[in-house]
Symmetry: C2
Subunit: 340 residues, 2 copies
């Protein structure tokens, strides 16, 4: 093979938003495979808010990416060369917690080969059947424990996680209110995804809108954002409410710690359960979650969108779409043509 590999390498920790020079695209020759390995070509790279966490040296749930190391990330790739009997050219595999690299070399043992599901596009494995889908499923079902008739609020509702949370909650018989950042997103939530109501936090008073759309208060707040939006929801929590704490994207670019919610004492008065979680903790239960989500998908009960940016070289710059709220659904980078 004469082609070179390309990898995005972390050169320095971003201060605030990611800037040019924080990551560098490095070319290296393709190394020969060892017995048991496969070489794959990245099809989709997953862009997630947590990428930004991994670039910081904040105290997080995984060690940060080292300076000089390949950027950490997940994705789907197509096998181009195999020295493992379980894989052949053209197989689609999940690269797991891999790197931002065009030609990952993977150990065949334990590597997940993706099935083809009737009527389900490959991008579903980046969304509802991928890490974001599992985040929504386990965060809502295992921590939120929704009961029919309850009111569920979800922030970043048009994102990959939020859009699934709301639809799963609808399947459970809940009233679902989403908070998102544009009228287009809000329209998608109510008209396509079946949410009962959606609030555009950029143009509406979130508190007043919550009062209007949640006449019986809030039983579950699936928290993706933090900051003032979270505070408005906390003000309206019911007794014995639950708050799966999934993300705080509003704070990841902060250079100084933001104040916590001034209504923190509400967790006491309302006997709220707040539980932080990271989807990797649920890895052993992924088969259960994927099976359920795949069934709902095939029954047409889950709508999903994929926000596709083309070109591996555009990965770092495209991350800002998440923080600027530009994506509808799962943000991915298409690095090479997907199979038919």
């Amino acid at each position: 093979m004469s082609e070179m590999n390309k990898t995005w390498v972390l050169r320095q920790r971003p201060v605030g938003e990611i800037k040019e020079g924080d990551l560098e695209l490095v070319e290296t020759p393709l190394e020969p495979l060892q017995e048991g390995q496969v070489r794959a070509k990245t099809v989709y790279l997953s862009l997630d808010p947590t990428n930004r966490i991994w670039m910081s040296d904040m105290d997080a749930y995984l060690p940060p990416v080292g300076i000089g190391d390949g950027m950490r990330g997940g994705g789907l790739a197509m096998v181009v060369e195999s020295r493992h009997e379980g894989f052949q050219q053209g197989d689609i595999v999940n690269t797991g917690l891999g790197k931002w690299t065009m030609y990952p070399v993977l150990n065949g043992d334990g590597l997940a080969k993706l099935p083809r599901l009737p009527g389900v596009p490959l991008t579903a494995f980046m969304g509802p059947l991928g890490a974001t889908g599992m985040t929504a499923y386990f965060g809502l079902m295992d921590i939120g424990k929704p009961k029919a008739g309850e009111t569920v609020v979800v922030s970043a509702a048009a994102g990959a996680v939020g859009s699934m949370v709301g639809q799963i909650a609808k399947i459970q018989g809940c009233r679902v209110v989403g908070i998102a950042g544009s009228d287009d997103k809000c329209r998608w939530l109510t008209e396509v995804a079946g949410f009962d109501a959606a609030i555009n936090y950029k143009s509406e008073d979130v508190g007043a809108a919550l009062d209007r759309h949640c006449p019986n208060g809030v039983d579950i707040n699936f928290e993706n954002v933090g900051g003032k939006i979270m505070e408005a929801v906390i003000d309206r929590l019911n007794d014995f409410s639950r708050m799966p704490l999934c993300g705080m994207i509003s704070t990841y670019n902060d250079t100084t710690p933001a104040p916590g919610p001034s209504n923190f004492a509400n967790f006491l008065m309302r006997r709220t359960l707040v539980k932080g979680f990271i989807v990797i903790d649920y890895f052993p239960r992924f088969p259960e979650g994927i099976q359920q989500m795949a069934q709902w998908l095939m029954e047409g009960k889950l709508k999903f969108e994929t926000d596709i940016v083309k070109g591996f070289e555009n990965a770092p710059a495209s991350l800002s779409r998440l923080f600027e709220g530009k994506n509808l659904g799962k943000l991915v980078v298409e690095c090479s043509p997907p199979p038919e």
Copy 2:
């Protein structure tokens, strides 16, 4: 009967600390008893941080005491007159969520008559066997779920709740670190109550002291205080830590909302479970808690102190002892002589 009853009545909602004039001592004649009622004479009145919450019109777990109504509170009283076959003069009863009144009139049906336990003084029913003991027991056991070898931190550690939390955690085989406000209290915690370490937050850097006394981080933070002390503990939480949220006494006199913990995102990174609770939610399980605590008491495994102020007329002024951290153990007002 020619004696008059006395009741502390709420005249206005305190702004900040309780001041003279917020409550008024009102005398009323003793009314004749109805069939099935008993009249008791208050022996001990319970003073608790939550009294201050009930005087505010903040959104709390119970409606506030109405202006013009008798102040809400619990206590023990001795039956002086009975028109219920289950009670006779001299019986000691728990007045439950009653009022600050010298001669409560109580319905005999459902009224709890206290047993006499060998070697256990009556004040135990205001502490380890009362609401504060149940708060400690259920908050720690049901939410904290301590495991042997884990590290438990408790704030307001020399108070009625904190002192029990630490000792129960020791019985469970945990390492226990208490945070309190004087050297005397810290000495009591380590030398009498058996805590592994105690931190005087008024004279020590709490963060540095936690680093020294919790070399393996913090698995359970039993939170009674809020504010900067809570923030210091949150910084040191371990993965999958638990935080029973029992009280936030540092904030109850605030006239404007205090900022929440700036390290709120740590709950996400550490996958912490935070759970607000109020002891009345556990009322149906009190028999279980009292039985276990009574057994430990009789086995000599629980030490407790009672901070006794004399005189019913001193109740309002004595509440400040809680907020100034003057009490060691359970604060009560002795309103009439206890039985031998």
